[in-house]
């Protein structure tokens, strides 16, 4: 089983310009650990002082916010596309 992970431009400074990886992680915590292993420079930026993933970083599975799918409990499926978007902008007023 493998999933496709798309990384945002804002990460590239810490990922040697890699924008996309494939992963065999089974869920979000495993994926984050894998990303941090692959790009050690990213780790200190990805997590706050409390060790948690920073609140402005959003994860989506295909078209859905992972928080609607059970967040850390969601089991990745083959060919899932995981999208990482920091600080999603937008909004009217």
């Amino acid at each position: 089983m493998s999933v496709r992970v798309l990384l945002p431009n804002a990460f590239q400074k810490h990922t040697n310009n890699v924008r996309e990886i494939s992963s065999t992680a089974a869920n979000l915590p495993e994926l984050v650990t894998e990303i941090e292993g692959k790009f050690p420079a990213l780790r200190q930026h990805l997590r706050g002082e409390d060790g948690q993933i920073r609140r402005f970083i959003n994860f989506y599975v295909n078209e859905e916010d992972i928080r609607f799918l059970g967040n850390e409990k969601y089991a990745f499926k083959d060919d899932d596309e995981i999208l990482v978007i920091p600080s999603i902008a937008g909004g009217c007023c």
């Binding site: 930026h45 609140r55 970083i57 600080s87 937008g90 909004g91 009217c92 007023c93």
Partner: protein, 425 residues
């Protein structure tokens, strides 16, 4: 030089100078424009402002635009109206409406933010601009880009109100209808902005764009005779406007243009999309995203970018947030139109209904100076009033027919008044 500013991370404070960027590459938090207020002190004065144009550019010394920029888009300076008749209905004696339903050129407060964003798009050399939008922003970008000779790609949810789609296409914009809600559209937009070298007003131009909202606050203070109100009631979608009105007031205080006094901020959402009001009620900055389901589509953002900041601003100020049902939204649109002659869109219905509830629940006292911010025009969302009014039978062009018509109406009114209701039309 008339202004001095730079981009800074809202969380870690890292400075990024002036560039098309909205995210900190150290902590991935949003960037915000910070002004050198000492530099602005001699330029942003009551006198300089009163000598400026009768539009939002009178405040340009605290707007992030290049000195060389010659404003093409005279948005803003909309009426601040006392609202005694609405006040009578809802138990308010000192209520005002900030009426951006008549903001030019496209009849929503979005004209202000786009004016600032596109000034920067020009400066950064973009020939194409775009946005994700629930409608009003699409209209504003399309119109002002046309005037400035910029190409446009505008992404909207496929089920957007027909008037908002037409009001985008008429300016020659390239409209991309996307299956899904605003949050889906916005996400796609973030990806596109990463790949294409375009100016997206609510992505890489967002810090500049957001500063345009401050002009609502500057105007309210100036129109009140350079003083701050007791309360602001403001609709919330992404949560930006309410934080920027607060920022405007703080800048005015810091520069000595108004006397410092506590202003309480109240946020308004539709119950069908209320992530920020829920956070306020739970006394937290943590926003749980929602799947929007409301007729107030211009506020239907389930994952609001500025939600944490809006919740914090409201709670710090001693304010509150409320959310109202779709039925209440439509009734409030009618009530505002019938009492004050202001026809607002669904977002304004949300704000008006929430304002009424805040008085009813005693969160705002009747005599406190309160400004309710109306941000968009009712002509764009007429579908929510579909079926609300019966079309009378046409009469012949004869006086007797007219007299019969009046008599019939009087008897209906009498019957209704006997039942304790009134028929207003």
């Amino acid at each position: 030089m008339t202004t001095a500013y730079d981009l800074r991370c809202r969380e870690c404070g890292k400075s990024y100078g002036i560039q098309p960027l909205s995210i900190c590459d150290d902590c991935f938090s949003p960037l915000e424009v910070t002004f050198d207020l000492e530099y602005a002190r001699s330029r942003f004065t009551r006198e300089a402002i009163s000598n400026g144009p009768l539009n939002m550019w009178r405040y340009r010394a605290l707007l992030p635009v290049p000195d060389s920029y010659d404003p093409q888009t005279p948005a803003g300076f909309t009426p601040l109206m006392k609202a005694p008749r609405l006040g009578q209905h809802i138990g308010a004696t000192n209520l005002y409406i900030k009426n951006d339903a008549v903001c030019l050129p496209t009849l929503s407060f979005k004209d202000r933010v786009v004016a600032v964003a596109l000034a920067n798009a020009k400066e950064f050399g973009f020939d194409t601009v775009g946005c994700s939008s629930t409608g009003n922003l699409a209209n504003a970008v399309a119109a002002q880009a046309a005037r400035m000779g910029l190409k446009t790609f505008i992404l909207v949810p496929a089920d957007l109100e027909p008037a908002k789609i037409l009001n985008t296409q008429v300016y020659g914009a390239t409209l991309v209808r996307v299956e899904g809600n605003y949050d889906h559209v916005n996400r796609l937009c973030a990806q596109i902005a990463d790949r294409y070298n375009w100016g997206f007003v609510n992505v890489n131009l967002r810090p500049y764009y957001a500063e345009g909202s401050k002009t609502v606050g500057f105007e309210i203070a100036e129109q009140l005779g350079w003083r701050l109100p007791d309360n602001i009631v403001c609709p919330m979608a992404g949560g930006s406007l309410i934080t920027k009105i607060r920022k405007a007031f703080k800048e005015l205080v810091a520069l000595g243009l108004v006397e410092d006094r506590p202003v309480r901020f109240f946020g308004a959402q539709a119950t069908g999309c209320s992530p920020i009001s829920t956070a306020v009620k739970n006394n937290t900055d943590i926003i749980e995203p929602q799947r929007p389901n409301t007729i107030a589509r211009s506020l239907a953002i389930g994952n609001p970018a500025d939600g944490p900041y809006a919740s914090r601003a409201i709670r710090e100020s001693g304010g509150w947030a409320e959310d109202v049902s779709d039925v209440e939204i439509v009734s409030a649109i009618q009530e505002l139109a019938e009492t004050e002659g202001v026809f607002t869109e669904t977002a304004g219905g949300v704000t008006t209904a929430v304002t009424a509830r805040l008085y009813a629940h005693g969160r705002i006292k009747p005599d406190e100076l309160t400004v309710s911010c109306i941000t968009g025009n009712g002509l764009k969302t007429t579908d929510c009033l579909q079926g609300a009014y019966e079309q009378n039978q046409a009469i012949r062009p004869r006086l007797t027919d007219f007299e019969n018509f009046v008599e019939e109406r009087n008897s209906i009114n009498q019957a209704l008044s006997f039942l304790g209701e009134s028929y207003v039309s």
